[in-house]
Symmetry: C2
């Protein structure tokens, strides 16, 4: 299903953070037409276009949030500062009470927050994904939505999860900004049949696969006790691993598993804040995964375990933690952090040809960032990437476009009413919070 | 020097994050008069006051940024992702070219950014502090300003640093929002005479002392090689340590040094972002310092090494790093993080009787935080503190008051013109960046 595209627009004299192969930051005109960039360079033709003076802003590719559960938005703060067992007990208790309506309410609030933060694409893992897909459609984001697959006896889903995933994929395959996919939850609730069933479905339907992998020591040790293999090794040996997969977390990997994942073409969603907040205890081997050739992007995880959906914060935190962990301030410099949040996230999704940078022919997913904002001073072009990675606040993101259509205009949602979204979220929260275990 | 106070104001029906001894979050009226809170509770008298409907906001104590160098603002991004030696080489080269005028320009921009982020008090270490004090006066912040003391042969200051510090203290001792103090830089540029001279000056003038301590392994090992003692032990043995001191960083401490600092009444400014970004390699023993009884607050350090002055980011990052380091998600919960950013910072400054909480009799330093902002949803009172610690964005901070006077009103500076401040900063940056070593 395609949408009518916004009228052509020309952004005159912008500071463009291209994120192209040369990572140029250049003063240029940018023309957007038919949902794509049609000109990036001097003197774009203005004919038939709305011409915007962009001399006071930077054009920055939309961020790619590579792992979240956006429907969990009503649960922000519900299980903070708890050991993982207590955290999960609370979340599972509440989860059993969820309805498609409150999933949609949560998704709307979460997507709104992401758009306001310059995130144009996100990779999600949950169920009731039709409700999330409707929120994506309504608000104008780009959603890569994975239907959660668990062994049938492990889930509260009605029907067989793999069939549900197949149905979801069939219903949404032709939408322009909803990309359906299958998402096995993790080795603690998925046996080999679920993993291989998910893989078969993905190969048959040409979709991505998204899953949790080696997030905690407990997950790894319990799986090793049960199967004699660590999770990534086991997934390789059963014939599951392959390209078109995005593994979230990937904290507790051996050197052999890092090589195995990279060689299989598996990408990784690094969730630094979530890992730290749940006290995973380790630091994900991001430098090593990249050195092995894996595509790595950044994920916020859900607001129950971060508790922010800010990709600006996530760049700052991920970079600082890696530097300290390696005793080396040169590790993951600002440019690489912005890469993780944009073009590398796109590569992880197999969409480096379509999103993640500002280049002619790509989908026009981007933000206008105010160069006069306090958190971007001094606004010298040579440190603009540093400011994005280390200091810029969401407030500096003036407007956001997806597919060339304006979805945030001067800090206001264009395609949704925040006050209505907020009331919907509060109402969902009122019900769900009452289901907390005492 | 005292200022005329704003007219009395009553904030009706606010959600008040008191940070009082019981850490109550209550719906209440708050009356501000003569620069102080005169009522916190039901039904404040409205007579003679401007009455504000505050039902849509939280009243939150102003943040205390316990370590920064605000005048370094023109240098944000100038030496990112560099090993400490290269970082310092760049900063020292630029430092030699600084003028009082560019220090003031930098301070104005930095103070503006802090006020917009809800920081009402800050502890600063630099020279040319008269220029910083003028910026504090002008913009309406509360500045605890330490004149940097180095051994005379180690500094570019004109005159003897201890005399300069004494002069600065004498010039500013009677100002209402400028608190002058003495600030020995660190063991790498201060011998015993400078340390003890600073201590004598502080005792004589009844001021605080602020200094860097055990930030890097190199600092510790070089001092140990030179003196046979680690820095904190050495400072104890020469008779320097005592109450009324705030040590910044304090990363590389032994258990014995932690006990020594706490028993001496020394407070600590924890600079989590700065330590990580410069790849200190360790994690400051914040839990241990607090257990030993030390007052600990949060400092952003300067924008050359963070690169943000956001106390909201700093709470999130400091909490997450401590949790992961201890393999324990219950460490430094949200309430304690907000404590570090408010009342504990005030305690570190010896001002817990005057600032850091919303209580009758205290100086009225506080923010109005929008409860309808996306990053504070769901806006349930029981998780408001969690949202402040883990997810709230600066944009949610609608207005800020210092001494009962509005200094930020609906995201705009009241007592300064941001565009003029920004131009001043850019001009200072143009000059300073040209002094970078090639």
């Amino acid at each position: 299903m395609s949408e009518a595209h916004a009228a052509p627009r020309v952004f005159r004299n912008a500071l463009v953070v291209t994120q192209d192969a040369t990572r140029r930051v250049v003063r240029a005109d940018v023309r957007v037409e038919g949902g794509r960039f049609t000109h990036v360079g001097p003197r774009a033709p203005g004919e038939g276009a709305e011409v915007v003076d962009a001399s006071g802003v930077a054009l920055v590719p939309g961020f790619v949030n590579l792992h979240t559960h956006v429907a969990m938005h009503p649960l922000r703060g519900i299980a903070d500062d708890r050991e993982l067992a207590g955290f999960l007990e609370t979340l599972f208790a509440v989860d059993a009470h969820r309805t498609e309506a409150d999933v949609e309410a949560g998704a709307r609030a979460g997507i709104a927050e992401m758009l306001l933060g310059g995130t144009t694409s996100f990779l999600d893992l949950y169920y009731f994904q039709d409700a999330v897909a409707r929120a994506v459609e309504a608000l104008g984001a780009r959603g890569f939505l994975g239907w959660a697959v668990l062994d049938p006896e492990m889930t509260t889903q009605q029907g067989r999860p793999l069939d549900n995933a197949a149905g979801f994929i069939a219903r949404w395959r032709d939408h322009s900004r909803v990309v359906p996919l299958v998402a096995p939850q993790g080795v603690y609730v998925c046996g080999a049949d679920s993993w291989l069933g998910a893989r078969d479905l993905a190969v048959r339907e040409k979709t991505l696969v998204h899953y949790h992998l080696s997030e905690t020591r407990r997950e790894v040790s319990e799986h090793e006790a049960k199967t004699g293999r660590r999770p990534a090794d086991w997934l390789g040996e059963i014939g599951f691993l392959g390209p078109g997969q995005v593994a979230a977390h990937a904290v507790w990997l051996t050197g052999g598993e890092i090589t195995r994942l990279a060689q299989a073409g598996v990408a990784v969603a690094h969730c630094a804040s979530s890992n730290l907040k749940l006290a995973s205890g380790g630091v994900a081997p991001i430098v090593e995964l990249r050195a092995a050739g894996a595509a790595v992007g950044l994920g916020t995880d859900s607001v129950a375990s971060n508790n922010s959906l800010s990709m600006l914060r996530e760049m700052h935190l991920a970079g600082l933690v890696q530097k300290n962990h390696h005793w080396d301030a040169t590790v993951l410099p600002a440019q690489q952090l912005l890469d993780l949040a944009t073009i590398e996230g796109a590569r992880a999704l197999g969409r480096a040809d379509a999103i993640g940078s500002i280049e002619v022919g790509k989908q026009a997913d981007f933000s206008l960032v105010r160069l006069d904002h306090p958190t971007l001073q001094p606004a010298r072009p040579e440190v603009l990437v540093s400011h994005l990675a280390y200091s810029a606040a969401e407030e500096a993101i003036e407007s956001v476009y997806v597919d060339g259509t304006c979805v945030v205009d001067h800090r206001r949602l264009v395609r949704g009413d925040w006050e209505a979204i907020r009331r919907g979220l509060e109402s969902a929260a009122d019900t769900l919070w009452s289901a907390r275990p005492k």
